[in-house]
Amino acid sequence: MTYRSITRYAILTLVLAVFSTACKQEWLEVKPQGELTTGNFFQEEDHAVWATNAVYSMLRDWNVHAFNYIGMTDIVSDDTDKGSLINDAIFLGDIDNFTLDAGHQSPAGIWNGYYQSIYRANVAIENIPNIPK
């Protein structure tokens, strides 16, 4: 073996050594930028207030408060008629004329909204007691 070929084999081994660099698992763990995760939530007093406010914010949610709500309370009881043009919120017309069926978006919408509110309340009830004092 000449000096030159020894050097070359040595270099080759070094190159192969480069490939054995193990990937650090942590390098692939990326935290979401600009957002809290459940990992760092419910850690302080503010979080308790925020989680409770989030429950009440559902009262301002479209499903609980807007078209679907008006449809399933005022319109279905004939307290109001659906007005405007035919194509304006055409699904409310189905409620006015009692042509809605089980798949209609309005009853599904308000129940979705109510259960999401319950979900948020449950999340608060379960997690707030565990916040360190």
């Binding site: 070929s5 070359r8 270099i11 080759l12 070094l14 190159v15 192969l16 050594a17 480069v18 490939f19 660099t21 990937c23 650090k24 390098w27 692939l28 763990e29 990326v30 979401p32 930028q33 600009g34 957002e35 809290l36 995760t37 459940t38 990992g39 939530f41 207030v49 925020w50 989680a51 406010n53 989030a54 429950v55 009440y56 914010s57 009262l59 301002r60 043009l85 035919i86 194509n87 919120a89 055409i90 699904f91 017309g93 004329n97 042509t99 069926d101 798949g103 978006q105 599904a108 129940w111 979705n112 259960y115 999401q116 509110s117 319950i118 979900y119 948020r120 449950n122 999340v123 608060a124």
Partner: protein
Amino acid sequence: MIKGITLRTVAALWLILAAWSLQAQVTVKGKVTDDAHEPLIGVNILVKNSTAGTVSELDGTFELTVPNPYVTLVFTYVGYSGQEVALKGQTAIDVTMSYGSQLLNEVVVVGYGTQRKSDVTGSVASVKSEDIQKIATSSVTQALQGKVAGVQVTASSGRPGDGAVVRVRGVGTFNGAAPIYVVDGVILDNMDFLNSSDIESIEVLKDASAAAIYGTRGANGVIMVTTKKGRQSDKTHFSLNSYVGRQQVAQKIDLVNAREYAQLSNEAAMNIGTPKPFADPDALGEGTDWQDVIFRDAMIQNYNLSANGGNDKILFNLSADVFRQEGIVRSSYFNRYSFRANNEYRLTKDVKVGHNLMYQFTDNNNEPGGILFTAYTADPTVVARDSAGNFGNTSNRSNVSNPAAQLEYNDYNRGYAQQLIGNVFGEVYILRNFTFRSTFNFSMGNSRGKSFTPEFFVNDKQFNPESILSVSLNRSRDWQWENTLTYTKAWDLHRVTVLGGVTSQARDFENWGGSRRRLVGDAEEFYYLNAGDIETQTNFNGASQEKYYSYLFRLNYAFKDRYLLTASFRRDGSSKFGSERRFGNFMSVAAAWRVIEESFMRNQDFFTNLKLRLSWGVLGNDKIPYTAAIPTVTGNLNAVFGTTEDLLFGATPTRLANSFLQWEESNTTDIGIDIGVLNNRLTLEVDRYIRKTFEILLPVPIPDYVGSEGDPYVNAANLENRGWELTLNWRDRLGKVTYHIGGIGSYNQNEVLSLGTGNEAIIAGAVSGGGFSTRSEVGIPIGSFYGYQVEGIYQNQADLDNFPKRGDEKPGDLRFADTNGDGVISTDDRVFIGNALPDYIYGFNAGLEFAGLDLSVDFNGVTGNELYNAKKMDRFFGVTNFETSFLDRWNGENTSNTEPRVTNGGYPNYAVSERFIEDGSFLRLRSVMLGYTLPESLIGKIKMERLRIYFSATNPITWSSYSGYSPEVTSESAIDNGIDRGIYPIAKVFTFGIQAGF
């Protein structure tokens, strides 16, 4: 900084560079001629297993510096049989090449390397740069339409600067079905930044064998682009590529005129029971053609200047490109300026470094938002602008803005961007058989947007009370560091190439923006947030990051040059996947048999190429909505309390996340045959493939009473694509005329196999009126249209009594089919009424060259697909304009059995039904080009190498029965595809160009 690079690595690289010494090199000279002893100009001469090369000169001579006089030189020239000449110590050789379409020794670019076409075991298609350059467009992606069998390219829109939606072998998933683009090794999601003149070749890797080396990203195919590199030459070759053209809207929509609109409006009023809006429709004439108000003839131009050359130490290719395109919709335009430097520096005999860099700026303006829809719906009885300068009131009878006023007030929508894309690399040849390559790829840039609307008043429905300015800024950075070691050895009858490598990648994005109102002035110098009222300010700023780490391996083995085997493996880790599923493994195996090399094929001369290929592999798709893996907390869920009505900040986890979220997996099998006959003048490639995608991410419905917002994503669905591909080419010579004819065709069948437990159908494709037009179900192609079938029209009361109905129909209304036979029409009678995925995609081209003249034509088309004309359904708040198809409406017994009476919305005439389904098939004359290359005797006098002038047309004729601007209606979303809600039309372009070489 960049994690993943250790001190060890850097030290190793330095050692390698330091350890090598220079050795003597040799210059080889010679001449290349054809069978008739005519010199061949521009023959590619490469040193085998290296990129050192040159090109033969005007007299057929060449000169090349090689490491030693025992290398093999590879001669390739389009249309001629390639040759390999092993030097045996001589430094002068003359080579004769024979005519005959020759694709065998052509080198194709495959992932992480190159291969001879004859050695390829997978399905790889090549597209030449000249074919891309025939299309006048800013988007190289759009130019691929109709060029590759199995690849469907649909322009996203005709807006200047927009690209295309590409599908390789059908739609593979519900999420992110686009292929990846690899430009000189840089993995990207988009290649529209490229200038067509800079491209050397494009390869499409279609099956597992070709694409598996890209592991978790290869499932939807890989499009590889190689840009032009420097070649050794005794003088620098300059080249100018330029064209100027005029664009016009290819096809306007047929809308009614003022008189017809008045008649139809009166009829609609009569049918609904409201007073007639027009006293005397016949007194009205043609009225305003709102499409003419917004369209214009627009200019497109492109200039590219490049310098290419090199010697035994340095190879260079530098280019500068200017592209400017006005849009056919007024106020829109797109400009792009780029600089490229692809250089290579041979530091020593065994070490070379280099870079492929491109720097680019673009600036553009978008047309006013929604103007294509307002021009389609605006009242034709209203004048655009009267003699006093007032804009007509188009909001009288419906809530539609005056498009001319929109062009005046809503036309400032600017974008500016700059980016740097490319790589820096080093290659070391070790021990004669090993090549170590390290490349640092990157793509980074930022883009800004600025949009201003002044205070204005057109009428009480079209006005803006305060001026408003919005600005935004995006920054993105993407770097990839790839290290590969390749071992090549040939002995006896065996040839082996082994590749191993490690790569890491990180991408991050950040965006900022804000808005303010009540700016101190309306002119452009005030378009900065500081000029607005601070009380009205809004802002946003967000970011995201992705990281990858992969190991790759590939083995290519050839025995007796006729039995070929390829195996590849890749292990990918990604930050996108759930913590339980960080790494995925992907692999493929392929074999090919070059029947032509067998002894029993020696005694015939009909076949000049015959190869069978078979491949199987598992690939991945990581274009998934990956935030679903992380349980984030949503903020700004604000509540209002107290008589003071205070708004208080709220936040809580609202979604269930899935830490088992992973990539989607695709199993592909491909069987193919490559045939060449008559000295390869006729070549044919046929492939049959089956592609099954598993673990497709879907929101799987959980009961609503759980209360989680949106369903959690689970890898649950399966989809299948199976089909055929065919590529046929004939090239020959008849005396002094060379000509070619070619065609591609493919057939694909898509089917949803599973949608997770319960197989609940996915409803999508929202249309006006709150309905949905698509439904994806097991056993049906993805994103199929779902609605009522139209059987005819209820002509009179007797029809209403005899045929099933819902109950509120009147004579003249559409009569739907009672598909479930229960005697009534209800939502249960809806069926599948079409699909936007074509059955067949095809293209054919022909060209000839004679005495310096060249002529070529290109056609492409699709068939078997439908489109949903959603904009026709939209009777937006009032009586909007009508397409001329409404003129055939029912207005008395038996006046029509297809077009219902004029009403303005509602069931049944505006329900989702076959009424709005149209045939989306088309055949398009994609390009025609006639050029003339001046003879060398003439231009040689002014020291030029080449001068060609040409005329060409892009999209001059499209044959289609679709009523809209263009049958190319598409979307990246597979479940919301083929729905026309108003698209920026495609233009036809006529250009004149000059190409010069000196």
